[in-house]
Symmetry: C2
Subunit: 376 residues, 2 copies
């Protein structure tokens, strides 16, 4: 039997855990933390003070930085948090799991407690790859195989797909006749293509999407002129309840997104509702959607049009089953749990092997590592 682990989860401080509205990373951290607590682990969540959790919460800021009053700088608050984790508190943990990426690297590199990094973003920037390569020995988790393709040569400990609780979505086998576009109006989401496709096929399209201030100009110039059409129903930005309702009643999610998204959370939300996904073959899409089984992977305009026409061939029950099998929170939590045990076993055997030749760091070194004031 595996022992109960003492786990530190480090979340970004920008949004609370779970986020009030958007914020995929913080929502995943929420479900992961809840799941680990439910399995009996002793979890400490480092996150903003307005976070909700059944774990022990350690909060370097009272409110999520995006919403709260001005702090000196997000980077400084993040560094204070990392010092707490890797300084005085480190002896309280068997494993650290960071969702922050690069700011944590220098701390993790000198820590005796292993750190797991979940990479939440794109990895195709040359600058970012340089920094990843110089910390390549750390343990990285990708959220899709596609995500790691630009940089295969670092220590990937595995791919673990995001998962959400099955109870968050209602299975529905008798949808309405509309298709759904869900997300944001930004150029790479290609809402314009979803609209053109709906008009070409003569199908109703509901659009639930927010407009970020940065995308306002794009929206006015490129999207708003397309909305005034009897088939197109723009319902604005929606809350969780409304989203759940729109998802389960949609004939399909029309996901015209055109960028290598590391993991498309909206796709698993659709599948969880029994709603198939029509998506461009890019990024994580081929890993989330099985072509002709839980939706369609499209490349050309004709592919999209054929997919819309053939959507009745997809079993909605199968979509929900695949969600339960591959994208539930418990499947995600179980994968991380196994990974933690693997890393600890690995570290244990490395230590055994190195024991004879290995010299433990002096207490002076340890105190310097952590910043002297952090150690008594």
């Amino acid at each position: 039997m595996n022992k109960r682990l003492r786990i530190a989860q480090i979340a970004p401080l920008i949004e609370r855990v779970p986020p009030k509205k958007y914020g995929g990373t913080e929502r995943v951290v929420y479900h992961l933390t809840e799941g680990l607590v439910a399995r009996g682990h002793e979890v400490t969540l480092f996150a903003s003070g307005d976070s909700q959790t059944t774990a022990r919460l350690v909060a370097p800021v009272t409110e999520a930085i995006r919403l709260g009053r001005r702090v000196h700088s997000p980077e400084i608050m993040t560094m204070l948090m990392l010092q707490q984790v890797y300084g005085r508190m480190l002896k309280e943990f068997d494993i650290v799991h960071s969702h922050l990426e690069f700011m944590t690297f220098p701390f993790a590199a000198v820590s005796d407690v292993p750190t797991v990094f979940t990479m939440h973003g794109r990895l195709d920037s040359a600058d970012y790859q340089k920094i990843l390569r110089s910390y390549r020995h750390l343990a990285f988790v990708s959220i899709s195989d596609a995500q790691r393709r630009p940089i295969p040569d670092i220590n990937w400990a595995g791919t673990i797909y995001h998962g959400y609780p099955p109870s968050s979505y209602d299975f529905n086998d008798a949808p309405d006749d509309y298709f759904l576009f869900l997300g944001r109006f930004s150029p790479e989401k290609r809402a314009d293509q979803a609209i053109m496709m709906a008009r070409a096929c003569g199908i109703p399209l509901k659009i639930a999407a927010k407009i970020d201030p940065a995308d306002r100009e794009y929206f006015e110039a490129r999207i708003r002129p397309l909305l005034n059409h009897p088939l197109i129903d723009y319902v604005g930005e929606v809350d969780e309840t409304h989203k759940r309702y729109l998802l389960k009643n949609a004939k399909a999610l029309l996901n015209t997104i055109d960028w290598p998204e590391p993991f498309g959370l909206v796709m698993i939300e659709a599948l969880g509702s029994g709603t198939p996904v029509i998506v461009r073959r890019c990024g994580s899409a081929p890993e989330v959607v099985a072509d002709c089984e839980t939706g369609f992977l499209c490349e050309s305009r004709m592919d999209f049009i054929n997919a819309i026409r053939n959507i009745g061939r997809i079993s909605r029950r199968h979509c929900r089953d695949e969600f339960l099998r591959r994208f539930s929170d418990s499947s995600m939590v179980g994968s991380y749990e196994s990974l933690y045990y693997d890393l600890l076993r690995q570290r244990f055997f490395e230590n055994k092997i190195n024991e004879a030749e290995r010299i433990p760091p002096s207490s002076e070194t340890i105190s310097r590592l952590a910043g002297s004031a952090e150690i008594k």
Copy 2:
């Protein structure tokens, strides 16, 4: 005789060294680096690729971030630079001197090569003080005694005033009859008070100041209405040549600034030209200006008015002499050089004392510290 040192200077990447226009930190780093090279040291300057230096330049970005094309994130570029310094290249240095502050702390804390930190900003934020205290054992240099007052309880290695080359300013004992306000139009600079004082005393005031986009609204509402007066001459934003001309011909610098500025570079630029400084008694002012000798320290409106009336009592020659004695680049460079030697001597004796009990880090530890790819 002291040995030649191998010194790493780490500059911010936001501006080039020296900056094209504004940027006090980068200008100070420039003169310090040039001075150390002139004294025969082997200096490596880590800075943006468009920097100018006689030292060896190592540049993680080709252009200053504020001007150049978009990089992944300034923090990532900064971390790459820090890895270069503290990773593979560390053995090339006897001492590291960082002008970056907190991003460098975790690297410096585990480095065997001592790091000197020059603190360039205000230190009165509680968050920032927390992080400083947890790295309090590092070696900090304040740029005025006033700057360190909010946090006296960290390892201050000394106060070293900024210095500029005497040749950058022309001494002039026969000025025109105008007073000068030089800087930016931001609320804490109180250009409005300088204008009111000039009008109250009936003296001509030249204003050379830039308007940052952030201050545009303040300028239009609070300053522009005051400019339309026969005594007030707003000359716009000026280049170095124009500034030098305005400084040497001014009867005095009217520095109505109202915030605890850690070091007022504009004051030493005035003194270098033989121009006395009338300044509010706050921040570094009492350390830079000797009351009734190189200018006047003022608290009330009456103090300012009396200072303007009595400006003829100040010897311009004495102002220049005090600049030469205390605020030349060579005095700054000499102080840093002594500090470097002090730290190395101190580290040497610490090592001697600890030698018996001290266990050197294993090569495995060293390679983990630096990021394994950085070490062969």
